[in-house]
């Protein structure tokens, strides 16, 4: 190409630009870059900036540096929300993983009406979050709860359970709702992972003398770890930043027992109008999220046996 250009001295500047790989590469990346910049980088930067000001709704604030964060460190409600977020994320993620993996393994076997059951499993994922949150709200109603009714009819309890009124009950209830909602994603993704494991590996292991449990621990689980890493990273991120379920069901109550960082940020920033403080709470989530991503990337995903190439 260089020869063609020198031989053809009169080539216009435009043609020369069109032949420049780097320039054209930049041009092709421009649309995507612009979208990322406008819709991801700008809001993120604005959030971080807001978190370092004392902007309130209708009143331009001033730069206050890390003052918001210093305040939050002594704010017991914020600290409670951090605790709640961790409790919510850890408990829900562990149970989602356990049940999701179990469900995936069941669905991976040859069971009758497999397609139908798979479709049903996906259902919680398809229903809009707000809708399912409303349904749970009703299921957990202190007077007309269908759960309480069933348990009373069965003779297990004799008065209705106050699902969302008692702090610990409320925590358990929202976690249960989150698990219900999150399982399909985990189960279906792990099922996809299971289906990539060749059947002959299990046959070879059977001949090598592995029983069913050993086939799971020595073949299935290790081969599934890359997918597990991805799924659980996403699941943890979604759970950690959950907002809709909580906001519809409890608005963070009772007595802030179910306030997550996301709901507290919204309450302080949008409902309460303290945009700066709300932003600071949201920004405080970033380090935790980054840590989760880095842990999954370095800890789980990049196994030696997965890497290609012939070199050691």
């Amino acid at each position: 190409m260089a020869n063609a250009q020198t031989a053809n001295g009169g080539t216009s500047v435009l043609t020369r630009w069109m032949n420049n790989r780097n320039l054209m590469g930049m041009l092709f990346m421009l649309p995507a870059g612009t979208i990322l910049l406008i819709f991801l980088t700008y809001p993120l930067a604005l959030g971080v900036w807001l978190g370092m000001t004392d902007v309130k709704v209708g009143r331009p604030g001033v730069f206050v540096g890390l003052e918001n964060f210093a305040w939050l460190m002594e704010d017991s409600v914020f600290l409670l929300s951090v605790f709640n977020t961790f409790l919510y994320t850890i408990v829900a993620s562990i149970i989602k993983f356990g049940l999701g993996l179990w469900l995936a393994i069941i669905l991976n076997n040859n069971i009758p009406i497999k397609a139908f059951i798979r479709a049903i499993v996906l259902l919680p994922f398809i229903v809009p979050t707000v809708l399912s949150a409303l349904a749970f709200w009703w299921i957990y109603d202190s007077q007309d709860s269908v759960l309480s009714w069933i348990l009373i009819e069965m003779g297990v309890i004799d008065k209705t359970i106050d699902f969302l009124g008692d702090p610990n009950n409320a925590r358990a209830s929202v976690i249960a709702a989150n698990i219900w909602r999150g399982i399909p994603f985990v189960a279906i993704t792990l099922l996809a992972g299971l289906q990539t494991i060749p059947r002959t590996l299990y046959e070879a292991a059977t001949i090598d003398g592995a029983n069913e449990w050993q086939r799971f621990t020595r073949i299935t689980f290790p081969l599934l770890t890359p997918i597990i890493a991805v799924v659980m990273t996403f699941s943890v991120l979604f759970t950690f930043t959950d907002f809709q379920l909580i906001w519809v069901m409890t608005r963070g109550g009772p007595i802030n027992a179910t306030h997550l960082m996301a709901t507290l940020s919204y309450q302080r920033g949008i409902v309460g109008g303290a945009l700066g403080e709300g932003a600071a709470i949201a920004v405080a989530m970033i380090p935790f999220l980054l840590a989760a991503i880095l842990f999954s990337y370095f800890g789980l995903q990049n196994r030696k046996w997965q890497r290609g190439g012939r070199d050691d």
Partner: protein, 358 residues
């Protein structure tokens, strides 16, 4: 070591019977090849020996003991899979030592056995690598290593060479054969490639549509096929099948092709005259004739010299014919030549059933 006796074994998947009660004797220390076109049930049969498929009817015995209900790990067999089935998350060492580890052998024993097997297969340098880092041939050897380490009574091979390129396939063929001679084990080998079957087997079992067509030593099948299927399946280029009838005139018996060429028969064995039949001639059993008198005329279509011999593909009317000559005749496409089969090598088959007329 042990023999494998397959008695009347049948396999039904749902409502489809894929094996219709086959009987095969696999002698101790033999190398038996199950060969046939895809869908003939050969792999299913192998998997039934391994215990990966249930036996619907009949019996399979290894070393005299019926194994129908015995789980695979108690059958004392090892299997090499077509796609190798190496555990991708384990090193070569761990792949080979996996069965011993499951059997709770101590690490010194595992190390010793794996290293011995690796030595046999030239894998010593690769023990710490992962399957991804190996070439196809190396993976194949690891798969065999995994089988050797277990020191089984019977080795089962399920089309182990079909993922390799042609050159490597020839090389691995020799290696597997050599290994078999060295270990003196009983081997059952499944392939759809009749050349693999011919070159490796002590005993070939030709299968079609869930039945055994014929079994025997390679050259026995080559020289004395029971029917047209075996005759055309074994041997490459394939045997020519000429249509015509068995006829006689005076004291002379001959095969008269549909084109009227009369090929003398050494001994018609009193075969009923005027009976329509097929006459099988191997490509290398043709001689060039000077005239078309009592010979088969052929128009040369393609000439394929391989160096050692020349393959001529041509046509006689509708009939395609192939002939192989070790002499370096000059052939030109379009040329008319006349071929005469050696009478002692003619094989006659019934036109209806395809069964051999002896």
């Amino acid at each position: 070591m042990a023999s494998v006796d397959i008695r009347n074994a049948a396999k039904v998947f749902g409502s489809t019977e894929v094996l219709h009660g086959v009987n095969i004797d696999i002698p101790d220390q033999s190398f038996t090849v199950l060969v046939g076109p895809s869908g003939c049930g050969k792999s299913t049969l192998l998997r039934m020996i391994a215990g990966l498929e249930e036996i619907t009817r009949g019996e399979i015995a290894i070393g005299g003991q019926v194994v129908n209900t015995m789980p695979p790990k108690q059958r004392d067999i090892a299997m090499v899979f077509q796609n190798y089935a190496l555990y991708p998350h384990m090193t070569v060492f761990d792949n080979m030592g996996f069965s011993l580890k499951l059997a709770k052998a101590d690490s010194a024993t595992i190390r010793e056995k794996v290293e011995t097997a690796a030595g046999i297969l030239n894998l010593t340098e690769l023990l710490h690598r992962y399957p991804r880092q190996l070439s196809g041939g190396q993976r194949q050897r690891v798969a065999m290593g995994r089988a050797i380490v277990r020191d089984p009574q019977v080795f089962l091979f399920d089309e182990p060479l079909s993922n390799l390129d042609a050159k490597l396939r020839v090389q691995m063929r020799t290696e597997i054969r050599e290994l078999h001679q060295r270990l003196n084990s009983t081997s059952v080998y499944v392939t759809h490639d009749q050349i693999e079957a011919m070159t490796m087997a002590d005993q070939i079992v030709v299968m079609r549509d869930g039945n055994v067509e014929q079994s025997g030593a390679p050259l026995e099948l080559y020289d004395n096929p029971n029917n047209t299927f075996v005759a055309t399946f074994i041997g490459s280029p394939a045997m020519n099948m000429l249509r015509g009838k068995i006829a006689g005139e005076g004291g002379r018996e001959f095969f008269e092709t549909t084109h009227g060429a009369r090929l003398s028969l050494l001994n018609g064995n009193g075969a009923p005259r005027e009976r329509s039949a097929l006459c099988g001639v191997r490509p290398e059993h043709f001689l060039l004739a000077d005239s078309e008198q009592d010979a088969i005329g052929m128009e040369v279509v393609v000439v394929e010299p391989t160096g050692a011999e020349i393959l001529v593909i041509g046509r006689n009317g509708e009939q395609e014919l192939q002939a192989v000559f070790r002499e370096r005749h000059q052939f030109i496409p379009g040329q008319h030549i006349a071929l005469k089969p050696k009478p002692e090598n003619l094989l006659l088959f019934d036109a209806e059933s395809g069964q051999r007329i002896r």
